[in-house]
């Protein structure tokens, strides 16, 4: 499937293309299975110290805890692959979490899907704002989303005032969403896994998905090749915002107490998860599944610290450290890879 795609895109250089693609694929399979291996080793070590870590309740908690991060990571993956970054996800999550669940208090008996739609709508609005500014303004997404990170948080603070949404105002059927499970696996985790699968399939096999990769590996070339760069950037930010909005509602269902600090600092965890999961921060490579595994790894680490009795104050340092390790490793690997490719195709040039 993927080789067919390559051949269709540049039929002239098919042989060289397939060689390099095989090598690239192998490296990335190593990259993603590497994360899985790290995850397994980590779980094994923690479980040997503290068996409680792998009992059903904890795994269930861990999985439903991961859902929010994994969802955010999906949106962030789309943005990062196209060589942008969305720093505003945490603030969007916070705004959406408060505003949407506040509806329960003001309109008792409101159907839950409407609340989710409200969250989605808020997220989309924020994402569209980001997308328009990045696509039309052609300003680095870093600056735009750094600004909206604080603008959206500020709006959240103004709306919330000193209030908070508390568990009593939330209907039981809403609170039960993260807790419902099939054979011990949270129902929600299955749904999110399916969503991520769909996202991964879209990125891998759809024309517009592939164009995000093209933009990430060489924006200028993508533009010249006729990729509607502005439109794709806009869409990726809108999707990222929308997903963050949905994640906000799920977050609310999970934590049930929502004040103006909900989701503060999540952007760091999410970007770390994405990068640790093998999405290159330069754009152009990585997968949604890898990002989800990265999210799982980070929340496993957080949970393990908790189980092992280590202060949660270590969380942030670890996320930041892992991010640095991941980008450094990626860089070293890609330099080695480039060198290897150059050796193989010596004479072909560039």
């Amino acid at each position: 499937m993927s080789t067919a795609l390559t051949e269709r895109q540049n039929p002239s250089s098919a042989p060289a293309g397939t060689i390099s693609r095989k090598l690239t694929e192998r490296v990335f399979r190593i990259r993603e299975s590497g994360i899985v291996a790290v995850l397994l080793v980590f779980v094994a070590v923690t479980a040997s110290i503290q068996p409680r870590f792998i009992d059903q309740a904890n795994i269930q908690f861990l999985l439903s805890n991961t859902t929010v991060y994994a969802l955010l990571a999906l949106g962030e993956t789309m943005v990062v692959i196209s060589r942008n970054v969305d720093l505003s996800v945490g603030s969007v999550l916070g705004l959406s979490a408060y505003v949407s669940t506040n509806l329960f208090g003001h309109h008792p008996g409101i159907p839950i899907p409407v609340v989710f739609l409200a969250g989605l709508g808020i997220g989309l609005a924020c994402g569209i704002g980001n997308g328009l500014m990045v696509a039309i303004g052609r300003v680095p997404s870093l600056v735009v989303t750094l600004a909206t990170l604080y603008i959206i948080r500020g709006i959240d603070i103004l709306i919330v005032g000193g209030n908070e949404v508390v568990a009593q105002t939330l209907p039981n059927s809403f609170i039960d969403i993260p807790r419902a499970n099939v054979l011990g696996v949270p129902y929600l985790a299955i749904v999110i896994a399916a969503v991520i699968g769909a996202g991964a399939y879209y990125l891998r096999s759809f024309r517009s998905g592939r164009e995000l990769y093209a933009m990430g590996s060489n924006p200028e070339a993508a533009r010249l090749a006729g990729v509607p760069v502005g439109k794709r950037i806009f869409t990726s930010f809108a999707i990222s915002g929308g997903i963050a909005g949905l994640a906000g509602v799920l977050w609310a269902a999970q934590y049930q107490t929502i004040d103006s600090t909900a989701g503060t600092g999540y952007e760091l965890t999410v970007i770390s998860a994405v990068v640790v999961g093998g999405v290159a921060i330069f754009g152009g490579s990585g997968s949604a599944v890898g990002a989800a595994v990265g999210a799982l790894l980070l929340s496993t680490i957080a949970s393990a610290l908790n189980v092992l009795g280590i202060s949660p104050f270590w969380d942030q340092a670890i996320a930041g450290f892992l991010l640095l390790v991941a980008i450094t490793l990626d860089r070293v690997i890609s330099l080695k890879l480039t060198a290897a490719l150059r050796q193989r195709s010596s004479g072909v040039g560039t």
Binding site: R8, Q9, V85, L87, M133, A135, I136, G137, R138, V139, P140, L142, V143, V144, L146, A147, T148, L149, Y150, I151, R153, G154, I155, I157, L158, R207, G226, P228, G230, K231, S260, L268, I271, S272, V275, I281, F282, S311, F313, W314, D315, Q316, A317, I318, A319, G320, F321, L323, L324, I327, T328, R331, V332, L335
Partner: protein, 402 residues
Amino acid sequence: MEPDQNPLPPDGSAATGSAATGSPATGSGPQLNGTEGRDAPPPASPGPPPASPGPPPASPGQARRRRAWVQSALRWETGLAVVAVAVVVFGGLTSTQFLTSSNFFNLSVTSGEVAIMALPMTFIIISGEIDLSVASTLGMSSALLGLLWSKHWPMLVILVALAVLGVVAGLINGLLVTRVGLPSLAVTIGTLGLYRGIAQIILGANTVSNFPATYTTIGINPVPHTNIPYSVAIFIVLAVIFGVVLHATPTGRSVYAMGASPEAALFAGIRVKRIKTMLFVVSGLVCSMAGALWTFRLATAVWNNAIGLELSVVAIVLLGGVSIFGGKGSIVGVVLAVIIFAGLLNALLLTNFNQEATGIVIGGLLLISVFVPNAGALRSRARGLVRARSLRRSPEIGAVHD
């Protein structure tokens, strides 16, 4: 792109200019120092029209370029000055306390650290990089100060330790960016988390606040015989030093050169990597010292000191006319932006705006300062986007590839 605004040093641009002799029609005319560039009237299309003197003496191209650059710098900076006055008038109108001298003191004391941190950030952004870890470095330094003080270290030793910490923090950023070749955005997002996390590890939920009055008065008392807080006095001294280095030394000029075109700077023999590493180190050092000031002013060391302050620092620098793409900007602009920023925050404080929500205003300020300089280009791009969309509608384009 805009050779007349491009502040490359004449000798630095000579190398690139002579390399581009093949295409003098592209507007690189003023950069040529060959004979034909001197005698023939240079192609003046992109530059501002008023400055078109006769051909006479030495190198009119250079003089014109300098004047054009001064003009364009002045334009943004005069704008800032006007805004600064407007902020003062607005503040004076909305609150009777705004123009009092005690309020002036409060205004400047609360913005001292941000202002100091904006100076190295100016260098870093002009060189084409960014440092998002500044606030976390401050927080880490503040936490270490608290920890060491609670362990009864002498203050002088603590300050040396903080300086070392800042240098190391900056060195990590700098080496990862220049030697490993990572984008500074990614590196400093990572260290933003890492340094803040270390602050959290150092202090946990503790608060250290038993600093002696000798130090805490540094934060809240003015320099003797004046109405200027210490932090602002330090800022003024540093601003002069940074300004001289940026605008009047080869190092400063090469910072512009590498921001405008890293490749060209490298080929011109500028030690891009070394200078960039130095910039990050200076930034780390300045931020850790700002951490000491911050801690003394509030008389408390907690892990989340100055959390989110990177937004303010970046906003000030970009408001000061420094281009986010590197290669442009001036210390004068940044100083004016500091004044506007401090005035605006203070005016907000006096108008009972929810203090925690000032992010809206600062973020808005940041967006405005990136969008206003290229407002003209925006409209055409918006039109282009719409046109691209209608073009996409025709299916033949997609079919070509199959």
